[in-house]
Symmetry: C2
Subunit: 213 residues, 2 copies
DNA sequence: TAGATTGTTAATCGATTAACAATC
DNA sequence: TAGATTGTTAATCGATTAACAATC
């Protein structure tokens, strides 16, 4: 458990770790025992020094001439990202997007288990999505507390986002994965990670325009 | 058309513009004529200087004591992000996620029009999603060329991502909005904007862990 | 005029990249 | 041993933030 450097790993580094992991999976499936930073970097169009820096920051060391042990590296990343001890999450907003996310292969492997769906739309309540029941949003506080759930995935319509977030936080939710186009305001102490599609689309068209120009 | 500073606006700035726009919409709906950088910043938990810098970089100026004209600011952002001249896009992969994105309110306003869906699954071909037909992936090159479509939204299963991207690029697609967990490799000249959910989830749990610790 | 808010110029900060000695 | 690859230390780069004179 090389876990000495617990001093705030940078978010850019954290975001790259899953990419490294997917390269490692490939290597492992090819029975490759060791891998160099430049092999990883090459596959991801990054610089090898960045890979080494990132790995060093989560406390992993390699060996000159050998590189890094694929198996140990995978373990370390799984460990660091908490993929071993699964956390339960609820989805608030039982629409297409919620269904899509619930069906996403790979979330389960990455330690995220969707426990239930919540909606305020009475016609949706009682239906099943991916085998899990859609519950009345009123029951959120009860379930959150009983099951010790910290994470809510927010996929409600934009105009309902802030209100849903408020409800969730009141119910004891500690982290919100926000898929709406709305920037929600939360008290300090609550985590928000936003998947900002408007920002992403803006970046796409900006890059496209520059490319074409 | 204050469009002198066409010298590569930074991506972080571009990504913030839609947030500013949503604040402006609120202001406009409240009949507010002018807005200060600190008003915008306050609502978004940013610094006012960052707002001013961003706006300056797309060529907008304000007036001391007055601030910025809400209407002119909205126009400028719409203009800069190309929300006026709509571009057509295709969705490759007609699953839940594709449906969800197609149903996303606001994409239309943001200049993105989904023209058709493509899939290789024969059972899906011919069905309709959000009123648009699902076509055979084989027909992609024909349609891309005929309709001058530059953008593909990639929502296929992860293992099919690279292949689908290759097909799309061969068909003349210039920009790929990649929603898969796979990092796709493309020739230089092709744009990829990735919505990396694995990275986002990693960031979420990392922040949550730090918060709790 | 007085004062709020701008735009400019400089300082800070953090992340990435480069250079290279250490080492298996 | 020779040479590939590491980890360390320093340099660069770009974005954010601070300070403040300009100005409506």
């Amino acid at each position: 458990m090389t876990r000495d450097t617990k001093t705030a790993i940078s978010l850019p580094t954290v975001r790259r770790l899953p990419m490294y992991y997917s390269i490692l999976q490939e290597a492992a499936s090819g029975k490759q025992e060791n891998i160099s930073s430049s092999q990883i970097a090459g596959r991801l169009q990054l610089e090898s020094i960045q890979v080494r820096k990132d790995l060093a920051s989560i406390g992993i060391t390699g060996l000159p001439r050998i590189g890094f042990s694929v198996a140990r590296l995978m373990d370390a990343i799984e460990d660091f990202l908490g993929w071993n001890n699964t956390s339960d999450a609820v989805v608030i907003g039982a629409g297409h997007l919620g269904s899509a996310l619930a069906g996403y292969k790979g979330f389960a492997e990455k330690g995220l288990d969707i426990f239930a769906f919540f909606d305020s739309d009475k016609t949706k309540i009682g239906q099943k999505i991916q085998g899990k029941e859609v519950l009345d949003i009123e029951r959120l506080p009860e379930l959150t507390r009983r099951m010790h759930i910290n994470i809510a995935i927010l996929t409600v319509p934009d105009h309902a986002a802030q209100n849903a977030a408020d409800v969730a936080i009141k119910a004891g939710i500690k982290a919100i994965w926000n898929f709406t186009l709305t920037k929600i305001i939360v008290p300090s102490g609550t985590i928000v990670e936003r998947v900002d599609l408007a920002a992403s689309l803006a970046a796409l068209s900006s890059k496209l325009r520059q490319q074409i120009a």
